[in-house]
Structure formats: structure tokens, C-alpha cells
């Protein structure tokens, strides 16, 4: 589904290389996890895939089901089925959460040639999905992420994912800042979406999330490269020994 080949990325404004040849393939139906020390380039990878400004791809390619992602505008990537749950969800004062979600859902439907959802249809779906994530009606009315607690913001990301039903979901540290119960809610939300046509790339620092969302493959990222790929046991290794072993290997 997602194929990243030899991806090199530098900052646009500075002469600083951040990704130094990332190779990664995520097949449909699978969950891949990426772990790696702070500053190794995990978020940068997720931003570059979703089309944020400020980065320059100097080499390599990234495709989603064969479509060249790097050629597309951010909204086109979203319409193609890519979704990023942000490490730091953005506050948007003045734009109601509900308006935002409805605009997003309908924009994607339009881009795919589907009819827009009516207000009532939309309301029905969102109520149900919000309830599962314990997001109350009041939070839906508030401006996007404004005044939300850290955990509420993360749950709001998962709500967006559930509403948009993307096929490739990237979760950047969605577990950070979540209490034990919220982590369970989020994991349930993700697991409910798991199916053969959908894949996940879960960026995390902690084994605990992976207890709930069982990964098929675990990658270790260091200094802008994937330095090790293995099964779920790799995450356990990190948990006990840290990254030192992998860094030496690299």
C-alpha cells in the first residue's frame, strides 16, 4: 500500500539533511510500528508524506497504491486515502469541530466523486463515533482543539480518522499524553478500523500502545534511516535495553 524508497529529505530553509534514505513498505491489512530516539526523523517522515511545506525531497520516492504522493497537494493526498494523526494537533480558534469535520468529510467525498453527506446523516455518524471515543457533544461544538486537554486532542485525532475512513493511517505518538483508559479507547478505535484494505503506521516510544494495537512489523529509525526491521519482539527489546544496541549496529 505505502511504499517509500530511498527517501532523502532536507529542510527547505536550512542546509540540514533529516531523512537520509528511508526504505519502508507497508502492505494492506498490516500494522507497522516505528520506534526511534527523539530527533531521529519520525515526525518529519510523517509530515513529508502528508505534504507539509518546509521540506525538500532531494532523492527517493513515496507512493500510495502506486500513486506518487510527493506530486500531490496535501488535500489530494488526503483524498487518496492518507491520514496523519498529528503528534501535536493544531488548535483552530473560531472553527467549530463539527463544521471542520463535516467540511473535511464532504470535501473528500466530493474529490472522490461521491455525494455530500446531509447534515442529518453526518450527525448520526459522528454521534455514534464520538460516543465510542467518549467525546461529548460539548467538545464537538467547541473550536477545533481549542482548550482541549492533551488527551482530548489525541482522541479528537482518532475521531477524525474514524470519520474520514482513510486507507493509510499514520499515527504520530498518538499514545503520548494519554492516561491508561484513554489509551485503551484510542487502541479500540484503531482496532475497530483494522481491516484488509487498510494499513497503519504507528509511531510510538512505548511498548504499551503496542500491547493494545498488535503490530505485524516493527521498525527502528535512527538518524534519518530505518536501521532495523523485525517482529513485535523488537519493541520489547527497545523497552528493556533502549536503542544503544541498534545504534551500534547501524
Amino acid at each position: 500500500m505505502l511504499e517509500i524508497k530511498n527517501l532523502h529529505v532536507k529542510l527547505e530553509e536550512e542546509d540540514k539533511q533529516i531523512l537520509k534514505g528511508v526504505d519502508l513498505t507497508v502492505e494492506a491489512g498490516k500494522v507497522h510500528a516505528i520506534m526511534g530516539p527523539n530527533g531521529s526523523g519520525k515526525s518529519t517522515l510523517s509530515y513529508v508524506l502528508s505534504g507539509r511545506d518546509g521540506y525538500e525531497v532531494t532523492e527517493g520516492a513515496a507512493t500510495l497504491d502506486g500513486t506518487d504522493l510527493l506530486e500531490l497537494e496535501p488535500e489530494e493526498r488526503a483524498a487518496a486515502g492518507l491520514f496523519l494523526a498529528f503528534q501535536y494537533p493544531v488548535e483552530i480558534p473560531g472553527v467549530g469541530n463539527m463544521t471542520f469535520l463535516r467540511t473535511a468529510v464532504n470535501a473528500q467525498r466530493k474529490a472522490r466523486g461521491q455525494d455530500e453527506l446531509s447534515a442529518t446523516e453526518f450527525l448520526k455518524v459522528i454521534r455514534e463515533k464520538a460516543k465510542a471515543l467518549k467525546i461529548d457533544a460539548e467538545m464537538l461544538k467547541r473550536p477545533v482543539n481549542v482548550g482541549f486537554s492533551g488527551g482530548e486532542k489525541k482522541r479528537n485525532e482518532i475521531l477524525q480518522m474514524a470519520m474520514l475512513e482513510p486507507k493509510m493511517c499514520i499515527l504520530d505518538e498518538t499514545d503520548s499524553g494519554l492516561d491508561v483508559d484513554a489509551m485503551k479507547l484510542v487502541a479500540d478505535g484503531v482496532n475497530a478500523l483494522r481491516d484488509e484494505g487498510r494499513a497503519f503506521l504507528v509511531i510510538t516510544h512505548y511498548q504499551r500502545l503496542l500491547d493494545h494495537i498488535k503490530p505485524d512489523v516493527v521498525h527502528i529509525m535512527s538518524d534519518g534511516r530505518i536501521v532495523k526491521t523485525g517482529g513485535p519482539e523488537l519493541a520489547l527489546e527497545v523497552e528493556t535495553n533502549g536503542y544503544a544496541d541498534f545504534l551500534e549496529e547501524a
Partner: protein, 429 residues
């Protein structure tokens, strides 16, 4: 008049020479004469005047109105969906055929032109009075000029709760029209009304509205200034508030090569509330100036000024806002915010927020900012599939929201939002 600097004197005389007073001013005669004296003493605004530092007065002062092309649009006019009593003026001239019968329970509506010749009239003590009070501490000569030469306007006396809004519609059909309209609104104790205004009104419009609110009265005002690109306007709203009264005024301005909107509010009764807000959107040849002066002269009053401007392609926005808290006006709650969203590097926003406080137990705050679209927010919206155009509009409407929310009535708010969305959408192609 001879005490004025030569250039100012010449400009003022040239303007006065081109105007003629109504033949039968009736009871407005003395007020008009006094206003003319004010104009002669003060002189009309000139480029060096401190109060006109950010706005060039020449095109508003010169004897002939600069030509303004008539804008035609197939869009339904604003407030079309609102049940209201309509009074139509075309280039400043009342159009009886296009207007409704001004019958409205609790309200009497008359035209200045006809009413000024009656023997006794309630507006006699008000016409030009609030305007004259508003000349200190800062002169507003264009308003005095209006009092002296207004050709028409409406006199609205509200004794109860008006069940429908009164809607003044200003059409613009002549490319060189120069209109002087003067309205007086008096709300008796506990009375309530909504006044709507829309349209450019003329190539150049000089409008004065004086609003007197008795105790517990409530006045709601929503105005849309008309989309003609080349139109010019100098407007003044003067209001005096009695105890526990409420004044709320909102103006939306889209396009217009030159607009100066002054609002002069005086809170004279305890526990009164005065809100004045505006949303201005300009693209290219657009100069919009909001000048507000709020005087607190009573205890426990609240005032709010909320002005937002969206500017692109070299448009200019100006805000001059002052809160004056007089001695003894304790427990004053004054708020003032003026912000601009600059959609490109060519546009500019000039602001002069001022506080002058002579009481010790007050809470006043003011702020002024100027900025571009938040790139991070924009990326977030786009990453959810919302294309750049609609995402920018969403953020722009969010920026305007604080001002638009000052409109209390939901249906009126929606009418305004609809126009704002339309303006933004038209600029996407």
C-alpha cells in the same frame, strides 16, 4: 472662518459654495444654521488634521463627488430573507413606490423632508444635537456639514417593542450622485427596535444617524455598505445611552474605494451597554477607516469595540478607537480589539487605539494585531482533505467570527455570514 489655514479655508468655501440649504427647513432651520457655523469655524477635514492622519479626506470633501460606476449583481440583496419594513432611497432620494407603508406598531416613521415643516415635532430637540455634542473633544466637520445640508432621512420614534426591523435600502443608480441623509431615532423608556441599512446609496454618501436611548431601551443596528467598488462614504453614528439601555451596532463592508465610518457613543446612564463592531473586506483599491469614540460618563457601564479587517492586493484598513472614562465613571468595563488579516504583503493596516481614564475602579483593555493566515492551521485543514481555497476561507471566517458574533439575531448573523462567504468564494477564481 478666516482663522483657518488658507488651504482649509479654500476647500471649505469651495464645498459650501456647491451646496444649497433646503428652501423650507422648518424647525430644523436653527439646527442647520448652527451646524453651518460649526463647519465654518472648524473647516472641513484637511490632509494635515491629526484625526485624518491615516485617511485622505480630499475625495470626501471636494465639491463634486468623484464618479462611481454602478455595480450590478444578480445575487439576492442582503436581508432579503428578513421580514421587515422597507424604505428605499435612490441616490439619496426617497422612492415611495419601492417602499413599504411605514406602519409598524409601537413605532412612528416619518421622512425628514416632510416632517421638518410641521409645527411641533419630537425630533426638534434632537436633530443636530448629538452631532453637536460629538464635536468635542474631536471635531467631526463632515457630520456638521450633513446636519446643515441633509436633503432627507427618516425620523423614527419608538415607544414600544417594534415587531419587525425597519430597513433602509440605499440604491445607487447615478454615477455622480452625492447624497446627504440624516436620520434621527428616539427610543422611549423600555422601547426596542432593530434598524437595518444596506446598499451604497450614492457615488458619494454622507450619512448621519443620531440615536437617543431612554432608560432600558434597546437598539440593534446591522448595516451592509454595498459592493460598488468605486463608491465613497463618510458616515457618522451618534448615540446617547440612558440607564440600563443597550446599543449594538454592526457594519459589514465589502469593497468601496473610500469609507470613513465614525461612531460616537456616550454612556450617560448607569448600567448601560454599548457594542460597536465591524467586518471589512477589501481587495485592491479599498480604503476603509473605522473611527470610534466611546465616552463613559456613568457607573457600571460596559462598552465593546470589535473590528476585523481582511485585506488583500494593496487594500488599506484603518482603525482609530478611543475609550474615554470620565471622572466618576466607576466600574467601567471597556474592551476594544482591532485586528487585520493581511492576505498578502501589499496590504496594510494602520491602527491607533487609545484609552483615557479618569476613574480608578475600571477594567479597560485594548489590543490591535495584524497578521497573515496561520500556515500550521492551514496545513492541518488541508491534511484533512479541505482544499487550500476553502481552508483559507474557513480560517478567514474564523478570524471574522468575533465581530460577526456581535450580531445578536441569528437570522441576521446568517445573512451577513452568507455575504462574507460569497465575497471570499468569488475571490477564489
Amino acid at each position: 472662518m478666516s482663522a483657518l489655514p488658507k488651504a482649509k479655508l479654500d476647500a471649505t468655501q469651495a464645498r459650501l459654495a456647491a451646496l444649497s440649504a433646503p428652501e423650507a427647513p422648518g424647525w430644523t432651520g436653527p439646527a442647520r444654521n448652527a451646524a453651518l457655523e460649526r463647519v465654518e469655524t472648524l473647516g472641513l477635514p484637511a490632509p494635515r488634521d491629526e484625526y485624518w492622519r491615516f485617511t485622505r479626506p480630499a475625495s470626501l470633501v471636494q465639491a463634486e463627488a468623484p464618479a462611481a460606476e454602478v455595480y450590478t449583481s444578480s445575487d439576492t440583496p442582503i436581508f432579503d430573507g428578513i421580514d421587515r419594513v422597507k424604505l428605499v432611497f435612490v441616490d439619496g432620494v426617497f422612492d415611495a413606490g419601492a417602499s413599504d407603508d411605514p406602519a409598524l406598531a409601537g413605532v412612528t416613521i416619518e421622512r425628514l423632508q416632510a416632517a421638518q415643516t410641521t409645527d411641533i415635532h419630537w425630533a426638534r430637540d434632537l436633530y443636530g444635537t448629538l452631532e453637536a455634542r460629538g464635536q468635542t473633544p474631536v471635531a467631526r466637520p463632515l457630520a456638521a456639514l450633513n446636519t446643515a445640508f441633509a436633503t432627507d432621512g427618516v425620523l423614527i420614534h419608538v415607544t414600544g417593542r417594534a415587531e419587525r426591523p425597519v430597513s433602509l435600502i440605499y440604491l445607487h443608480e447615478s454615477e455622480t450622485s452625492d447624497a446627504y441623509l440624516h436620520h434621527v431615532v428616539k427610543l422611549e423608556a423600555g422601547a426596542e427596535m432593530t434598524l437595518l441599512e444596506n446598499g451604497p446609496g450614492a457615488a458619494r454618501m454622507n450619512m448621519v444617524m443620531e440615536v437617543e436611548l431612554a432608560d432600558r431601551a434597546a437598539f440593534h443596528h446591522v448595516r451592509a455598505q454595498g459592493r460598488d467598488h468605486q463608491r465613497r462614504a463618510a458616515t457618522h453614528v451618534f448615540a446617547r445611552l440612558g440607564s440600563e439601555s443597550t446599543f449594538k451596532s454592526f457594519t459589514v463592508t465589502m469593497n468601496g474605494v473610500m469609507t470613513r465610518n465614525e461612531c460616537v457613543l456616550e454612556l450617560t446612564g448607569d448600567n448601560a451597554t454599548a457594542h460597536v463592531a465591524g467586518a471589512a473586506l477589501g481587495d485592491g483599491d479599498f480604503h476603509h477607516d473605522d473611527t470610534v469614540f466611546v465616552t463613559h460618563d456613568a457607573v457600571n457601564c460596559e462598552s465593546r469595540q470589535v473590528f476585523k479587517k481582511v485585506l488583500r492586493n494593496g487594500a488599506t484598513g484603518v482603525f482609530q478607537g478611543k475609550i474615554l472614562v470620565k471622572p466618576g465613571a466607576q466600574k467601567t468595563d471597556g474592551y476594544q480589539i482591532s485586528q487585520s488579516l493581511l492576505l498578502d504583503g501589499d496590504s496594510q493596516f494602520l491602527a491607533k487605539p487609545e484609552l483615557e481614564i479618569y476613574a480608578d475602579d475600571v477594567a479597560c483593555s485594548h489590543g490591535s494585531t495584524s497578521g497573515a493566515i496561520d500556515e500550521t492551521g492551514l496545513f492541518y485543514l488541508r491534511s484533512r482533505g479541505i482544499p487550500e481555497g476553502p481552508a483559507t476561507d474557513l480560517l478567514t471566517l474564523a478570524f471574522l467570527a468575533e465581530a460577526v458574533q456581535e450580531i445578536e439575531d441569528g437570522a441576521l448573523q446568517e445573512e451577513v455570514l452568507d455575504r462574507l462567504r460569497g465575497w471570499l468564494e468569488r475571490r477564489r477564481h
